[in-house]
């Protein structure tokens, strides 16, 4: 009851004075403009969602507001006053708290110890633990989770959702007026999301401004009142929820023209037999995955962050193998329990994170290229400088094939550009004679020219009869390259779309707007 009166009272006022405001913010990183002249106002008692594709600039904007980044130009106002934060601590003290996507709790410390870390009240340095637990209890009570979470529980014993709630409690204990949540629901289950949504409503009713970044449009429409859409570092529009449909927002997010040339798609008659068939396979993260991959085709895998794209690649390649279901390779049942076995069976995996998984940065280019062939050769096989066994000149051959621009193959791989590093990774798998290639974000963070040549190379692979599974978060790349499109959502395959499906079609499926999920969500949202 009190909540309602508060809200109706604050509504007319809040439209007058924003609690915090960013004006004409620009932030450049080497090679890209992450934010270009962006202005947004955030009002008290309002949940404001910020949406956009990967790389649209959402996280950069939030990091600027919370003092983690300093903008190149533009101003931030808080409570009507101009502020400039140089350290997250200053933003916290002013009343802006941020909850990052990755968790920031100390696993081996208690809830209370985590909440008050760095701000413990003490007498001559001595802490009254009972008092501290009592204060933590009060903070937990403030957000209504005191029955769920004990102040003395170790953070590592809590579920992901409970940890998220502790982070919120920590943010609240700073007496925050603005709470920024970066993808708070990415790791939560449906009921946990409901819990979080209720909490957000309560915080809102106390006059806090909540900024909510999410990829899941369903939740955005459930929770937020205003939606700001960013695209390629620019502000597209700030809209009221009532004025738009999810499809409109998706169009605002991806509405663009294709500005990049892709090689022509494969012809259906060129696709051969099924080389890889996965049926109802699951592991600790993935759930009931089924699909087929044919010789000579590019199967694009689309999906948002946390939808299970990378997990799928890792399961196929034996990094985190499937635990149930069946997998067939060239018609024969197989269980791939390790990357070694995957490589033996002529699979190649070009990983998403080049730096940590793809290349050995301090090894010369030649050794990087030969890594897989050396791994699968016999233990006492002969090693040459540029090859193994009978193929003595693999390195120059591969170098030519993938068109690496370097003066010497002795150069350490870390000194190559991102595009050339990716070509080294590619060469490594070409050397292994793989006939199934998994690409995870093949062109993330590399220049346009290398991008085009990698796309050409992927297409050339399929012409040689190689089957390609290409995971990408860049929709133009999915649309431009895929002969079929598999869309992932919530650790499952949400559905399959034909070649040349439109970006909004893919995005809708990837945000959970399928018929199946509508049914699942209706009763719950009816209650709310």
């Amino acid at each position: 009851m009190t909540e309602q009166t508060l809200m109706s009272e604050s509504n007319p006022i809040e439209n007058l004075a924003p609690l915090t405001e960013v004006c004409n913010i620009t932030k450049r990183f080497p090679g890209v403009i992450a934010l270009n002249d962006v202005s947004v106002q955030f009002y008290p008692g309002e949940v404001h969602a910020v949406v956009g594709e990967n790389g649209a600039g959402k996280s950069t904007l939030m990091k600027i507001m919370s003092g983690a980044y300093i903008p190149d130009s533009g101003e931030i106002f808080f409570d009507g006053k101009k502020v400039s934060f140089t350290h997250p601590k200053e933003a916290q003290e002013a009343g802006i708290s941020i909850i990052y996507q990755e968790f920031n709790l100390l696993p081996e410390r208690s809830v209370a110890q985590n909440i008050f870390l760095g701000r413990e009240s003490s007498r001559f340095g001595v802490i009254d633990i009972g008092e501290m637990n009592k204060q933590a209890q009060e903070v937990l009570k403030e957000i209504g989770v005191e029955k769920m979470i004990s102040p003395t529980a170790l953070a590592s014993t809590l579920s992901v959702a409970e940890q998220q709630l502790v982070e919120i409690a920590k943010a609240i204990s700073f007496k925050a007026k603005v709470l920024i949540m970066d993808e708070p629901t990415a790791a939560l289950t449906y009921t946990e999301v409901k819990l979080l949504a209720d909490l957000i409503q309560r915080l809102k009713s106390r006059g806090m401004a909540i900024i909510f970044i999410s990829h899941r449009l369903i939740e955005v429409f459930d929770i937020a009142e205003k939606i700001t859409v960013l695209k390629d570092g620019q502000l597209v529009q700030t809209v009221q929820k009532e004025d738009v449909t999810p499809a409109d927002v998706v169009f605002l997010m991806v509405g663009r023209t294709l500005d990049h040339y892709f090689p022509p798609l494969g012809k259906p008659e060129e696709f051969g037999e099924v080389v890889l068939r996965v049926k109802d396979a699951s592991n600790q993260s993935l759930n009931g995955i089924s699909f087929e991959l044919r010789k000579g085709e590019v199967l694009g895998v689309a999906g948002l962050q946390g939808s299970g794209r990378t997990e799928l690649a890792q399961a196929l390649f034996g990094v985190a193998p499937f635990k149930s279901g069946s997998m067939e390779l060239h018609g024969k049942a197989i269980a791939i329990k390790s990357p070694f076995k995957a490589i033996k069976n002529k699979m190649g995996f070009v990983t998403e994170d080049r730096k940590s998984e793809g290349i050995a940065p301090r090894q010369p280019i030649r050794d990087n290229m030969l890594m897989t062939v050396r791994a699968i050769q016999s233990l006492f096989g002969i090693v040459h400088k540029d090859g193994i066994g009978k193929s003595r000149n693999l390195v120059p051959m591969l170098g030519k094939q993938v068109d690496i621009r370097t003066d010497s193959f002795d150069r350490e791989a870390q000194y190559l550009s991102g595009g050339n590093q990716q070509k080294v990774v590619l060469a490594k798998w070409l050397a292994s004679d793989a006939n199934i290639f998994i690409f995870d974000e093949p062109t993330r963070g590399i220049d346009v020219e290398s991008k085009a040549s990698i796309h050409d190379m992927i297409r050339d692979l399929t012409k040689k009869g190689i089957a390609v599974l290409m995971i990408s978060s860049e929709l133009p790349e999915i649309v431009g390259m895929s002969d079929r499109i598999l869309v992932m959502w919530d650790m499952q395959v949400a559905g399959e779309l034909p070649a040349k499906s439109s970006e909004p079609e893919i995005m809708l499926m990837a945000t959970g707007h399928t018929i199946k999920d509508r049914e699942k969500n209706t009763p719950a949202s009816g209650k709310a």
Binding site: L117, G118, I127
Partner: protein, 331 residues
């Protein structure tokens, strides 16, 4: 009736909060096994003679004191390899300065503690400000101290006055003074970690330095403080050893393998080498295991090298049992 159940709950709650570090089960196991072997193959004094029990603890005093300091730096995700030579420099310097005269004792103590503070400060600054890996940073300090000692002292140097031997040999009633000092240090270490801001921040720095920094912890200061305290414990251990030996020898630190043994006992006691987890009671358990082993082997008259082999096996066994258990918890 309600009060009875309430106090019962309270009791259970207290039991849950005072959880016994698992290392003490190991300790009991080692003690029982050692005692039984002693009874079967030697005179059975371990079970029958309480003086032997005290002796086990007295043997552990020097290692115990350093291991408390080592536990602090390891909790902060650092390490200190310079404690052995810090002990040596304390032993030779203090006995050199005392020259057998009681009136020189306060001055000597002041000097060696200043040296300790300086060593700890250098270690802490190298680790935090120069960003040198703590293993290398303290190995470097260790070599520097070793060089200085070897260039200056080659044999027993000076002597301590009889009054100072009270530290090593005196008793308070039936209990040796050294044991009381060990327990005081352990208690102080526990209080520091479990009840003070410094301790809470140290867990933060060790658990995740970036999280601690963003939460407003002055991470560098905390870690430098831990290094200074650790060097101080090495100084105290050195003073204890010299009071027992009556004259300082430069080899006392490295001969006792105080650097690696203090790390090993801390880790056996449950302090995570990666930092952010652990406590000094566990460390005490680890130290006592080493003490029991030593006594058992002396009793049985076994080859001392076999003792080292067994120590190694116990370190591996203890730490492996922690990881296996934590994996089961996670699954």
């Amino acid at each position: 009736m309600t009060t009875a159940t309430a106090s019962g709950n309270e009791f259970r709650r207290i039991l849950r909060t005072i959880h016994i570090p698992p290392v003490f089960y190991f300790l009991i196991l080692v003690f029982l096994a050692g005692g039984l072997l002693d009874r079967a193959f030697a005179d059975g004094q371990i079970f029958s003679n309480p003086a032997i029990m005290l002796n086990i603890i007295v043997r552990s005093v020097a290692l115990g004191i350093v291991a408390v300091g080592q536990s602090l730096v390891i909790t902060g995700a650092s390490i200190d390899l310079s404690v052995a030579y810090t002990i040596s420099i304390t032993a030779v310097m203090s006995s050199y300065l005392m020259q057998g005269k009681t009136e020189n004792v306060p001055m000597a103590i002041l000097v060696v503690f200043s040296i300790g503070a300086f060593i700890g400060l250098v270690n802490g600054l190298t680790v935090t400000k120069l960003h040198v890996n703590p293993f290398i940073a303290t190995l470097g300090t260790s070599l520097i101290i070793k060089g200085i000692i070897n260039a200056t002292f080659s044999n027993y140097t000076g002597s301590v006055p009889e009054s100072f031997e009270y530290f090593g040999y005196g008793t308070l009633g039936p209990i040796p003074v050294s044991i009381l000092i060990l327990f005081l240090i352990v208690l102080a270490g526990w209080f520091l970690l479990a009840r003070t801001k410094f301790g809470f921040h140290l867990y933060g720095v060790g658990g995740n330095s970036e999280v601690a920094r963003l939460s407003g912890v002055r991470t560098d200061r905390v870690l430098i403080g831990a290094h200074i305290l650790c060097s101080m414990t090495a100084i105290l251990a050195g003073l204890f050893l010299v009071s027992q030996m009556r004259s300082g020898a430069p080899w006392v630190g490295p001969n006792g393998v105080y650097d690696l043994n203090s790390i090993a006992t801390a880790v056996i006691g449950g302090t995570a080498l990666a930092g952010g987890k652990g406590g000094v009671f566990g460390t005490l358990g680890g130290v006592l295991i080493f003490g029991v082993l030593e006594t058992v082997f002396n009793q049985l008259g076994v080859n001392p090298y076999l003792k080292t082999v067994l120590q190694g096996a116990i370190i591996i066994l203890a730490v492996a049992s922690y990881t296996i258990r934590s994996k089961k918890d996670a699954a």
